[in-house]
Every structure is written in C-alpha cells, then in structure tokens.
C-alpha cells in the first residue's frame, strides 16, 4: 500500500494519543480511587471531573475539526449540537430523579410542577429509558445537522454565509430554549441530577467511571475520524475543502460529501454533550450561546486544524489555561485569553500541533521539508 511518509508519521502520532487516552482512562480513576488522599500521586475527585470535562470539550473540537479542518465548513453552530446531546442526556437524568424532587412528583420534573404543568409533554416520553436517551443523543443533533445541511449544501451556501447561518441556527435555538414554554426548564435548564444508570452521580466511583467513559469515547472517536479521514472519502473531503468546483466537475456530489461529514460531526458533538452533562451537573441554554461555538473554533485553531490531534490538544490547552487563570488572575484572565487568540493566529497559523509537526518534519527529512508545510495547508485557499 502506498502511503506517504507524512501519513505514516501522523498515524503513529494518533496511536500514541489513543494509547495515552486509554492509559488515562485507567490511570486517573485508579489514582483517584485507590490512593489515599494524602498520597503524592493522588488525583483529587475535583480534577477527575475537570479533566473529564476537558475531554468532552476535546471531543467537540475533534468533531468540529472534521468539518472545518478537513472539509472547510466553518460551523459557528457546533455548540448547538453539543447542547442538544447534552439536553437529551439531561432529560434522561431528570427522569431518573423520579419522586425525589422537591415536590415529590413521581413523573414531572420540578420545574414543570413549578410552572403548573399537569402532564409530561410528548417529547419527554421515553427518556426514562437509557437506551432511548442514548439514541436521542446522536439522533437529535444528527437529524438537525442532516436537515440543516441538506438545505444549506444543496443550495450551495458557502464560506462566510454558511458560518453566519449556523450562527443564526444556534442563536435561534438559544432563544427557543430560554423560553419556559418550551418545556426544557428555561434559563435554569436541567439540573439537580441524582442517578445515572442507577449509580449516584455524585459518587467518586461514578465520576471516575464517567471520566474513563469520556477518555474511551474520545479515543474511539479519534480512531473513527482517523479512519474517515484516511479513507478515499477523507481525501474527497480535503479535495472539497481545497477546490470545491474541481471536485464537482470530477463527478462527486459535493453536497452529499459535506452532508455526511456534517452529520457525523454533529453526532459526535452530541455524544460529547451527553458525556459533559453528568460531569458538570447542569445543562442550560447558555450552552447554545454563539460565543461558545466560536470558542470551539478557537480551541481547534490553537491546537491546529486539519490535524486530528490538534483540536484535542487545543481544547485541553485553552480550557486548562482558563481554569488556571480564572482562579489565579480573576481580573485579568480575559487579557491572557484574548492575547492568546491573537498570538496564535498571527504567529502559529497552523496551530500548536501543526507548527510542531511541521518543524519536526523539517528537521527529520530536510529534503522533504516543503511537503510537510502542506500537510496543514490553508483550507481557505481556494474559495
């Protein structure tokens, strides 16, 4: 099989990252559960949840990278898919509360009792079953992406126009979920969860398990996206990104190519949201905020779009920085964050991973150095 040197190189990188993720999936829960709190290698539960959250963000960024980095679709609405997946999971968790809510109503979540609702709305049916909720976690964002993409790609809405209408989509959803009449808890969203699959959601072991689940899911999705990107379909994706009309004149149905990636990406984002909710304990319309989607783009850019490891690194870097700086310099962290974005776009246009791998490639194989640059070629060069 003929595979270029670079792809071989990248594949090795991905194997390493997958191995690290799987290692973490075992090590962090083990260090958390099995060591005494004063042990030097003890990982506090607080960090387990925090890292679990980062991993779901990483998954979201990976999902965005599939469409942006490889297909040139800059979605400014990916947080919407994330939030929808989160809401599906949140609805399951709400139903699990059962009669343990403040008002003790066995069927209705507290906020419905609060607003004088008498019966469960139809779209809440079925969410008491985990398999159904899990299905909805991928189906709802997937379906929205499919319908939205079907229209947008068929009409050849491109570039900035597409970005702006995805933003309009998430903004409209934000406003809709804010409405208390929608039946999703309005501004407060869904919270006060108790159990997941019968386990206490606040228990240390549950948190460790959720972390492990996030790490394993991220690793699997990384393998999946690698397979997608390395397949001929993946090459077509990049071809669409670089020269859309050329691809079309070769006979590819660009709208189908895009639609598939967009839908898969939305489903991955939905899964990320579903893993996120039980770890942070709340889902509310704030997740639809257009700014959140822009942040995802920024994680991806910081890490390096068009590489698969980049978005993961970017999401963890930026969010880790945010966690540290919001506590260390509460008054000034926004300067650091804003400065980081400017710095990365100006000096690291390929992102951290892109720059490092380009540098490595140059050093390792100087004769082929020029090729390495193109690995993360500008996706927007053509259109």
């Amino acid at each position: 099989m003929i595979t270029s040197f670079l792809f071989k190189n990248l594949d090795r990188g991905i194997i390493v990252v997958v191995a690290i993720l799987l290692g973490l999936a075992v090590a962090i829960p083990a260090l958390n559960l099995l060591t005494a709190p004063d042990h030097p290698f003890h990982v506090p539960t607080y960090l387990v949840s925090l890292f679990g959250k980062y991993l779901t963000y990483a998954l979201l960024a990976l999902a965005l990278d599939l469409v942006w980095g490889f297909c040139g679709i800059l979605s400014l609405g990916h947080a919407a898919f994330f939030a929808l997946g989160g809401y599906a999971m949140g609805m399951y968790l709400m139903r699990q509360i059962g009669a343990r809510g403040s008002y003790g109503n066995p069927l209705l979540p507290d906020f419905m009792v609060f607003l004088n609702w008498k019966e469960l709305p139809w779209f809440w049916q079925g969410f008491d079953m985990f398999w159904f909720a899990a299905l909805m976690v991928v189906l709802v964002p997937g379906l929205l992406a499919f319908v939205f993409g079907w229209f947008a790609f068929r009409s050849r809405v491109n570039g900035v126009y597409l970005s702006i209408i995805t933003q309009a989509m998430t903004y409209a959803l934000l406003l809709a979920f804010f409405r208390n009449d929608m039946g999703f808890g309005g501004n407060n969203g869904l919270t006060d969860f108790k159990d997941i699959l019968g386990f206490n959601i606040q228990a240390q072991t549950t948190r460790a398990a959720l972390f492990a689940a996030s790490a394993v899911t991220l690793a699997s999705c990384l393998v999946l996206t690698t397979a997608i990107v390395r397949s001929k379909y993946g090459k077509v994706l990049v071809a669409v990104r670089d020269a859309e009309s050329r691809t079309r004149f070769l006979g590819y149905r660009v709208e189908h190519i895009k639609l598939f990636a967009f839908t898969v990406s939305a489903m991955m984002a939905g899964i990320a949201g579903a893993l996120y909710v039980p770890q942070v304990g709340i889902i509310n319309p704030g997740e639809f905020e257009p700014g959140n989607s822009i942040e995802v783009v920024i994680w991806t850019a910081v890490g390096g779009r068009g590489t698969l490891i980049g978005p993961i690194v970017g999401a963890i870097l930026v969010n880790g920085g945010k966690s540290i700086f919001t506590a260390a310099f509460p008054e000034f962290w926004l300067f650091a964050l804003g400065g980081l974005f400017v710095f990365v776009t100006l000096f690291l246009p390929k992102g951290v991973v892109g720059t490092v791998s380009a540098y490595l490639a140059r050093r390792k194989a100087q004769g082929r150095a020029a090729d390495a640059d193109k690995l993360v070629a500008e996706p927007m060069a053509a259109e």
């Binding site: 800059l74 939205f148 229209f151 947008a152 068929r154 009409s155 050849r156 809405v157 491109n158 570039g159 900035v160 126009y161 970005s163 702006i164 209408i165 933003q167 309009a168 989509m169 903004y171 409209a172 406003l175 809709a176 804010f178 409405r179 009309s245 257009p290 700014g291 822009i294 783009v297 920024i298 850019a301 008054e331 000034f332 926004l334 300067f335 964050l337 804003g338 400065g339 980081l340 974005f341 400017v342 990365v344 776009t345 100006l346 246009p349 500008e378 927007m380």
Partner: protein
C-alpha cells in the same frame, strides 16, 4: 365686540379677585405654606388643595418645587424654604417672595417627602392655577393635565378659559378637556352627547380610556352613543396601530442599520469577519459618556450639544483604535478571512476587559439632551424624539458613506483595493494605507453608531455583544459587499420583527426572523443584493 367685552370683563373680575384675596390673605398664604413643612404625607393633599383654592399665582413656584422634591423644611422649627446650592451649605429662600433669608448646613434641613399621590395633587392644583397663564405652553400643559385627570369642579374654569383662548392647539386640548370633564359632571345628557361626539372625533387612546370608564357609570340612554364612539375610535386605532408598527419597525431597522453599517465596511467590503465590531460601537458609547461627564462637571450649559461634540470624537477615537488594530494584527491576515474571526474575537475580549477595568463593570449614565427627550403626536402615532433622530442620523450616516465610497477619490481607491489588490497596487495606489484607512473608517462609523445607541441602550462593557450577531445577520441578509443591501436588509428585518412581535411575542418573533433568514439564504445564498457573474466565483 361682544366677545371683547366679555373677555375684558372676565379678566377684570379675575384681577380684582386675585388682588382682593391677595390683600386679605397674604398672611394666610404664608401660614398655609408653612403647614406644608409639618404635614404628614397623607395630609399633604388637603394642604395642596387649600393652597390651590387661594388662586394666588405666587403659590405656583411653591407647588412646583414641592412636586419636584425641591421644597425643604428646617428640622429645628419646621419652617419651609426653597433652596439653592452654595458650596457645602444651602441658601434658603422665602417660598412666596423668593427673597434670600439665610443659609443652612445640608444636615439641618430636609426635603419634604412626596409620593405619587402628592404629585398628582400638585399637578391638578397647578393646572387650575396656570390655566389662565400668559405663557401658552403653561396653558397647554394645564389643559393636558386637565384632560388627563378630569375634575368636575373645574368645568366652569375650563369653559371660561376656552372662551378666552386664541391658540388653536390649546383650544383643541381645552375642548377635549372640557368634553372629558363634562362626562363626569352633572350636565344634561344632550351636553354629554355632544361631548362624546367631540371625543370620538379627537380619537386616541386617552379618549378610549375616558369613554370606557364613562360607559360603566353612564345613563342607559347614553350608552349606545358611547359604544358607537368607542367603535369609531377603535376602527381608527386599527389603522394607526399598523402605522405604529411600521414606525417601530423603521426605528428598529435604523438601530440595526447603525449597528451594521460599520460592519458593512469592515466585513462587507474588506472581507474581515470583524468580531470586535461590537466593541467599537461600545467604545463610541463610552466616548459619549466621557464627553457628557466632562460637560456635566465643567460646562453644564453645553449639555444639549454633548452629542454633537461626541460624534466627531467617537469617530476619531474608534477610528484610531481601528487603525491600530489593522496595523498591528489584521494586515497580516488578508486573504484569510476565517482567521480574522479568531484574532478579532481575541481583540474583542481584550477591549471588553479593558473597558471593564477602566470604567468598571456597571452601566454608566448617558443622558438624553433635551431635544432627544420626550415625544410628539402625529395623528394617532406617538413618535419619540430620540427614535426619530436616530432614524435621521442612520440615514445621514448611510448617505455620507455612500457619497464617500462612490464620489470621492478615497472611495474609488478603497473599492479598487478591495476588488483587486494587486492591480490597484500596480497602478500606484498605496494599498496598505488604503486598507488601514478603510478599516479605520469602518471602525469610526461603528463608533458614531455607538453615540446614537448610547441614547437608547445600556452603556456597559457588554453593549457591543448585544449587537454583533444582529449586525452580521443584517449584512449577510442584505448581501455582503453591498451597502444598499445593508440598508434594505436592516429596515426589512426591523419591520418584519415588529409586525411579528404583537402576534408571536418578542422572543418567538425573533426566533421566527432568524429562521426566515436561514431559509432566505437557502433561496439566495449570497443575500438580497448579491453580486452576479464570474467575478464572484473567482
């Protein structure tokens, strides 16, 4: 001849009565005023009534001061004063004569507390007293007040005033006030019928309210008349309501236009996805705040000019900041539009936090100059001055920008550079300079928009965030790169929004508008006024 005689006679009578009571009650009046200082809140109404019944014009400033909360009482003896500020202490003035009678420390005297019911009493007392004022606007105010809060006892006074009134506007208002008052009086049904007719003709919501409340208490014989009048007014209202919606739509559209117009340059013309655009608007608003702050502390007389002063300053400040941003960041990113999104988002975070650090996170006060406050009636429409001036301003900015781009050599260069950078550069245009100036222009216009928006919205570090998404929607909906598209886009979205709002509510209305934009872009993937042909595809 007869009328002149009558007027003379009435004036004479009034003068005499005022004079007589004046002589008799100079002391009484002072005593009455003095009681204001010691009265409880619930007793104030009666005291005001008593003062009003004196009919003495000298009472007017006292009542006015009371209503505005400027009447003070000395804690020590409960005597009543008007005051003017003088350093740390206050100069005390006699409430009736206005003569200076000493000074007091601020802690020694205290405001006479008033509440809404006292203010209402003051208002109706004042309207009785100023109905015969020589000042037309005072008479108008009195008439309006009487129309708003009718008092059956005042009917004869209104009729007397009506007979003497020359000014057409005041006459009309008085006429309506008379009709309103007559309805609650014990006059004959025929008189009332005529009054109902007057009200039906005058129309408007106030008449509607008066008639609705009259309906419940009126004689059975009058009810059909009232109902017919109500129907007549309501029919007229349907028409005016539609007009009102159009006006609100235009007004919202003008706000959208103002917010978007700078973006139409930086994003539409230059292709920079400028997420820091909202912050430019915000900085413009803060410039207004600073200008007003300086004026307030140093040159209070200039307050009405504050916006005129702020406009060029805001343009300069935001223009220079825009220039700095372009030179330091954006110029490295031409041809990479999506990266400009990331960098400008970072810049917007920094700008927001800077403003928060400098001015604090809370709202800052930006006042309306007098010419932007209040409203006027146009037929059945209530048109607020600030909204009207904002529409005018938005259109003026638009026209000026259009002129600049289409009719000046600078505009020509800007268009040349944005359409074909290499060609323009090879023709000797200094493209970096033109880029920088174009971005500065877009930013400067955003700053000017901020001056206008400071009049209707919060001046806080978050100001820009509220407009950025709407601005992008407007520019994209109108068609990127087309100023006319932005104009039409802004106004059509504004009007659409305002027509949906009464039916769907504010939230659902906005959601519907967004969904319609998404659908519209499917139909016209390049917006309302898309450029066609091969050039676009390249």
């Amino acid at each position: 001849m007869y009328r002149i005689l009558q007027t003379l006679l009435i004036t004479l009578c009034l003068l005499v009565s005022v004079h007589v009571t004046g002589l008799r009650a100079a002391d009484d009046l002072a005593a009455l005023v003095a009681t204001l200082g010691t009265a409880k809140l619930s007793e104030l109404d009666d005291r005001i009534d008593a003062l009003a019944r004196s009919g003495d014009a000298r009472v007017i400033p006292v009542l006015e001061a009371l209503g505005e909360g400027n009447l003070y009482t000395r804690k020590a003896d409960g005597s009543v004063f008007l005051t003017t500020e003088k350093g740390a202490s206050l100069v005390l003035l006699d409430p009736l004569s206005g003569a200076e009678i000493g000074e007091a420390a601020k802690g020694d005297i205290q405001k006479i507390k008033v509440n809404n019911s006292v203010r209402r009493a003051v208002r109706s007392a004042l309207s009785g007293l100023t109905l015969f004022s020589t000042d037309t606007s005072a008479r108008l105010k009195a008439a309006q007040s009487m129309r708003q809060t009718p008092n059956a006892d005042a009917l004869e006074a209104i009729e007397t005033a009506l007979a003497a009134e020359k000014d057409a506007t005041v006459r009309k208002t008085l006429d309506e006030a008379r009709a309103v008052t007559l309805l609650i009086s014990d006059r004959s049904d025929d008189d009332k019928r005529a009054a109902i007719k007057t009200l039906a003709e005058s129309g408007g919501r106030e008449a509607l309210g008066v008639l609705t409340s009259a309906l419940s208490s009126a004689d059975a014989s009058l009810k059909p008349d009232i109902e017919a009048a109500l129907q007549q007014i309501e029919q007229a209202q349907v028409f005016w309501n539609a007009g009102q919606n159009v006006w609100y739509g235009l007004s919202l559209g003008s706000v959208l236009l103002l917010a978007a117009i700078g973006l139409a340059i930086t994003f539409g013309v230059m292709g920079i996805i400028n997420m820091a655009h909202g912050e430019m608007v915000m900085l413009g608003a803060y410039t207004t705040f600073i200008v007003q702050d300086v004026i307030r502390t140093s040159y209070p007389v200039l307050f009405d000019w504050s916006l005129a002063i702020a406009l060029p300053l805001a343009f300069l400040v935001t223009g220079i900041i825009g220039l700095a941003i372009e030179r330091s960041v954006i110029r490295f990113l031409y041809g990479r539009p999506l990266e400009t999104l990331l960098a400008t988002w970072g810049i917007s975070l920094i700008l927001q936090q800077s403003v928060r650090s400098i001015f604090g996170p809370t709202n800052r006060e930006v006042g309306n100059p007098s010419w932007m406050a209040g409203a006027f009636e146009l037929g059945g429409l209530t048109i607020t001055w600030n909204r009207m001036w904002i529409i005018v301003f938005a259109l003026a900015v638009f026209a000026a920008l259009l002129f600049l781009l289409k009719r000046t050599s600078m505009g020509l260069k800007m268009r040349a550079v944005t359409q074909n950078r290499r060609m323009a550069s090879s023709m000797g245009i200094r493209t970096p300079l033109v880029d920088a100036l174009t971005f500065a222009l877009g930013s400067g216009i955003a700053g000017m928009a901020g001056v206008a928006l400071s009049q209707i919205d919060n001046v806080s570090p978050n100001l820009g965030q509220g407009y950025i998404i709407d601005s992008f929607m407007v520019v994209v909906f109108g068609g990127v790169g087309n100023l006319w598209g932005t104009l039409v886009g802004a106004f059509s979205l504004g009007i659409l929004n305002k027509f949906l709002e009464p039916y769907a509510g504010a939230v659902l209305g906005k959601i519907l508008v967004l969904v319609l934009i998404i659908l519209f872009i499917q139909k016209k993937p390049r917006g309302l006024f898309a450029l066609k042909g091969r050039a676009v595809e390249a």
